[in-house]
Symmetry: C2
Subunit: 258 residues, 2 copies
Amino acid sequence: MGYERREATGDSTSLHLPLYKTEPALRPNGCAQCEIRHLTICSAFESNQVGHIEQLMNRRELSEGQSLFEEEGDAQYAYNLIEGTIRLYKLLPDGRRQITGFALPGDFLGLSSHGHYAYSAEAVSGAVLCRFKGADLQRLFRNFPMIEHRVLSMANDELAAAQDQMLLLGRKTPMEKVSSFLLTLSARLVRNTRNHDELTLPMTRNDIADFLGLTVETVSRTFSKLRSAGIIALPTPDHVRISDRPRLMAVASGGPAI
Amino acid sequence: MGYERREATGDSTSLHLPLYKTEPALRPNGCAQCEIRHLTICSAFESNQVGHIEQLMNRRELSEGQSLFEEEGDAQYAYNLIEGTIRLYKLLPDGRRQITGFALPGDFLGLSSHGHYAYSAEAVSGAVLCRFKGADLQRLFRNFPMIEHRVLSMANDELAAAQDQMLLLGRKTPMEKVSSFLLTLSARLVRNTRNHDELTLPMTRNDIADFLGLTVETVSRTFSKLRSAGIIALPTPDHVRISDRPRLMAVASGGPAI
DNA sequence: CGACAGTTTGATGTGTTTCAATGGCCGTGG
DNA sequence: CCACGGCCATTGAAACACATCAAACTGTCG
């Protein structure tokens, strides 16, 4: 970035909506049937123990663009994402935005050690989450150290991902950024798709730009270059097929430019 | 970054040295007298309990430029930094370097959930550390959940710092980057200096550049601009006096350029 | 004193941003 | 059904901020 600043064009329509709508009654399947339990903090429990967690939890649904919480806000709740994609971001006073990550099903968000959220979170598309009260979580940690152990392990993974992202933001070229992004996303979406090389991007080019520290135009141009080099195909703007993974990997790690 | 790459000029002399030298006998003062205990994971213990941790720990000293561990290496040990500064960094295949953070006394490094270090670590200047075997730590966590709780809290703080750094790397101008860097460092060094506005930079311009995603030249020029604007003074290259903190803060958060 | 490493400053180049315009898709409404 | 408007993605042209290249300067150490 640098140069002149531009206002973030994030869905301003979605701001200032009610923070969430609770639907405690809507819980068709219990935690025991939860398909992604093994990915979440709940994996620290055996199937017959999830009751301990189930009674502390509320289900929450978000529609596209809806805000879950905002940076600096009181961190009263933490969340387990069950379905959908959430963008986590920070803003500068003049509106420049940095997306620090995209949460996918199984991810745990909102834990803070200072009682204030470190970033804002809003739904990229429709999303379903489990909500926990911070105080309940602390009690859970005391009673079941396995849970805290699991959360620490997830925090460590997040930290490693953050360090990878710092390397990307600080030292990679746009070509390397976009290629790395596609490969990382493809790896994270493995569970959702039969074919690892077919991915549906839930987020816009603008989101990708704000995640990679680029402008929309540069992201778009880079996609186009990858397409005309035969490395990816773009049936639609949000549908990417990786047609030459080895070359994509080569480009991602600083190989010969396109 | 972008454009043509340049080799990282990190102290290549320091690579391939023995990873560390153990000096288990040299422990003049026990943990009970440790001046920075309240900053470390050890703060979870009362003074009379530190014996539990003391017997698991080895003291380690590093000389300037010496490597503590390398990315991808077997994460056998974790460390508590007692004295000095450590740079944590990742490299790209062609030598580009991103410093992901500078560890200061009280910081805890090397914990990994996968058994491999996520980054390399080497001493910026002489350093003293306490070393723990990973397996011992796990046992400690089981026996004293307070310790694990403390580590989780520190991991959360690190994560928040990493997110701030992503915002800096992806969306701030060089001027904002350098100003933010000085302010953040000044806040972290508070314990060391009587005057918050006098700081001694332990690291080189090159380190700062690799931390901020810039080149040495840009960092140097930015320091010069801040100096000629009367915002900082530079008695020597590594001695910074913040002479107009309010303006430095304004510049750091996107205020009018210099 | 000379060698060296780090810092600073100057001149030049260029890749990404910025500015601008077009095209595609979709929901809405005449 | 088609026209319209809005949003998003794409593409082109131009500007410029930071990188690159180059050289001078500083302090330190042998």
